[in-house]
Amino acid sequence: MSDTTAGEVLTTKDGQPLKVALAKALRREKLRSLALIAPLLIFVLLTFVAPIVDMLFRSVENSIVEETLPRTVVALREWDADSGQVPDEAVYAALYADLAVAVEEKTHTRLGSRLNYEEGGMSSLFRKTGRRIKRMDEAGPFKEQFLEADRKWGELATWNVLRQFSPRFTDGYFLSAFDAQRTADGIEMKPDNERIYMLLFGRTLFLSIVITVSCLVLGYPIAFLLASLPLRSSNLLMILVLLPFWTSLLVRTSAWKVLLQQQGVINDFLVWIGLISDANRLVMINNQTGTIIAMTHILLPFMILPLYSVMKTISPTYVRAAKSLGANDWTAFWRVYFPQSVPGIGAGAVLVFILSIGYYITPELVGGTSGIFISNRIAYHISSSLNWGLAAALGTLLLVAVMVLFTVYDKIVGIDNVKLG
């Protein structure tokens, strides 16, 4: 810069400033590459990002109450929840008008299922009241008739739930995901016998780390062998690594069941050689041990392959040079070889960790009660309890947790320091 004298601007042949011309050319280049990736980008946005965003949106979305009971929601705003009195006749009249429409459209039971996630009993309350609504006297008074249909309409808890969940957006799902709830005194933790999600999040993280570490400990020597053996033997070893990789996940998981169970192959062998007595067979499955063993085995190739591809590029001359300069085997490995393989460890660790944190089928099959992950509960809420809002909230938390960990990882290890080959 200091070479160019002040005031003199470099230009191209046709008199354009060089800077402008360069920027123009670069922009054209960028547009062209953008056009090239556009089909893939649009595809990913439409089929991957959009559904995820839509699913995550469910974690706060709560328009069903207002849509099903619009008049009641408005009328309830007048009600003073702290008064200790149930709402007055106007609210019951609004409820009647709303439910008459809802029963016609058969949306009242849907609302009942939704509110049942917050308070047990709402499901049958709405189903029961829906059956009675046609027989009610249109002229009123409604309060008595509702109380006659179900005494729950005279309970404060019912109205508190309705009021609390009448806004279009709710933090209720997220509170549940944090094992918390909103009570009259504000937000507080749920009682001990209902807390589960934070425990599962913690366990998921802990087990994922254990699995990643055991994959590394087991995978590193294999990758080292693969990279340093002569081609013929390393090819055979490679097939041994890949063969389980190509086998169905369920087959591998079931195989572990056969091996690890109390009447299984390993226990039988240990009893046979007399290491343990028949009465004290080891419990290695349907607990955390089972999950760790089976998942380490299943995810091992994801550690070995990136490690191998990085180690393959490390020239053996470095180690030889180190040794000729007087380093012993260990020093040569630790000071010269190992640092060069770190990018492979980074890649393998990220891969294994991210895969295991969202794992679902193996923990379900071999995890028993102490080895299941948060994803098992998410799956339960998606397919069984139909509480998609809570599933979305748990999913969002998992996503955020992974992103935070990824950022931390980037800060410590540096994502540029990760190589797949």
Binding site: N116, E194, G264, T369
Partner: protein, 366 residues
């Protein structure tokens, strides 16, 4: 001559083409032996009479509720008929995802003229539900355990008796049924189980009872696990669906016996998804009427040991199609097996399922 040939060939082609346009009907079921029994008893005879229908089976009943909801939201319901358990049928009906049926017009009357509504009786637990079978969740135990000193469990509470019947048990990884059994064995009378379970103290009581065997329980989530665990001697006693135990005992000849005491009846049946176009709806209604008539339900029992949902089908239950053994003594509804049964309360569980399940899972993970 040539022209005639062409016309003939053309007509033949058109005819063949017309016949080839068979209309697809997608039935959703559980796969395995159960789906096979439905195919043999309902679908095959129906297709024999209606060659223009092409039945496609989808083994998705396990996640039918979630998938149906997703299909409904996407506005593209590809299923015509879905096999679900009664509690799922109730939820699908609540969510407006299943069609309400009218037993008088949609279901066939019994041969003796009894109306369908009376023939199915109490089993029509939801406006949308067309019951097929009565199954039960009950226990099977190994009959070759030396530690038991020749004794065999004959009471539900023997499951909780680790002194007399040591060994591991397998129970389902959900509160339903387990909580009821625990309370029954803690001395709660049968008709008070649900009102006790509704209270916090009752819940606590059930968990306390389950605590006594917690360390000796393997928890299952798929119905096939208990038969496997029993066959491997991993557990000595375990709960599962009675049809699974039947095939373990009679087909695979394992040394396992049934403990029918306090078996919990449950129902399985069809629902028609809401929002089907007219033509598909008419077609599937015709099929359902045929597939749930008295003879068809009785026929199904030839292949699997589940009781037909119609009263009028019971006398028609015959022998197993392959084994040639009488099926009646293997039915959960057989008087000999049904001396002490427990009725699962759908409405109650619809209300408390979410709540108790959260507590049950928390209890499990402690």
């Amino acid at each position: 001559m040539k022209l005639k040939t062409v016309i003939l060939a053309g007509t033949a082609l058109a005819y063949a083409g017309g016949a080839a346009v068979a209309e697809d009907m997608t039935l959703v079921s559980w796969g395995g032996a159960y789906q096979a029994s439905q195919k043999a008893a309902y679908a095959d005879p129906y297709v024999a009479d209606h060659p223009d229908i092409n039945v496609i089976w989808d083994e998705s009943s396990n996640e039918a509720v979630a998938k149906l909801r997703a299909m409904n939201e996407a506005g593209n319901v590809t299923w015509d008929l879905v096999d679900v358990v009664a509690s799922d049928a109730i939820r699908l009906c609540d969510e407006g995802l299943a069609l309400e049926i009218d037993p008088a017009t949609d279901l066939a009357d019994a041969p003796d003229g009894t109306s369908a509504a009376d023939d199915f009786g109490d089993l029509l637990v939801s406006e949308c539900f067309i019951p097929q079978i009565v199954y039960s969740t009950t226990f099977g135990y190994r009959s070759d355990i030396d530690d038991w000193g020749g004794k065999e469990p004959d009471d539900i509470c023997d499951v909780f008796d680790l002194e007399t019947f040591p060994g591991k048990r397998s129970l389902e990884k959900r509160p339903i049924n387990n909580m009821e059994w625990a309370l029954l064995c803690d001395g709660v009378p049968k008709d008070e189980v649900y009102s006790v379970l509704e209270t916090d103290e009752g819940l606590e009581r059930a968990f306390k009872k389950l605590d006594t065997i917690k360390d000796n329980v393997v928890w299952w989530s798929a119905g096939a696990e208990t038969p496997q665990l029993l066959a491997d001697k991993e557990v000595v006693i375990g709960s599962t669906y009675n049809g699974r135990l039947f095939s373990l005992i009679e087909e695979q000849k394992q040394p396992v016996k049934m403990l029918w005491d306090a078996q919990v009846f449950d129902l399985d049946g069809w629902i028609i998804p809401a929002g089907l176009p007219e033509d598909r709806l008419a077609r599937v209604k015709d099929f359902v009427k045929f597939a749930t008539d008295t003879q068809r339900l009785a026929d199904q029992a030839k292949y699997i040991s589940y009781g037909p949902a119609r009263k009028s089908s019971a006398p028609l239950v015959g022998k197993h199609a392959d084994l040639g053994i009488d099926m009646a003594p293997h039915m959960p509804t057989d008087p000999e097996n049904a001396k002490n049964t427990f009725l699962y309360n759908y409405e109650w569980w619809a209300d408390y399922r979410d709540d108790i399940d959260a507590k049950f899972q928390a209890w499990l993970s402690q």
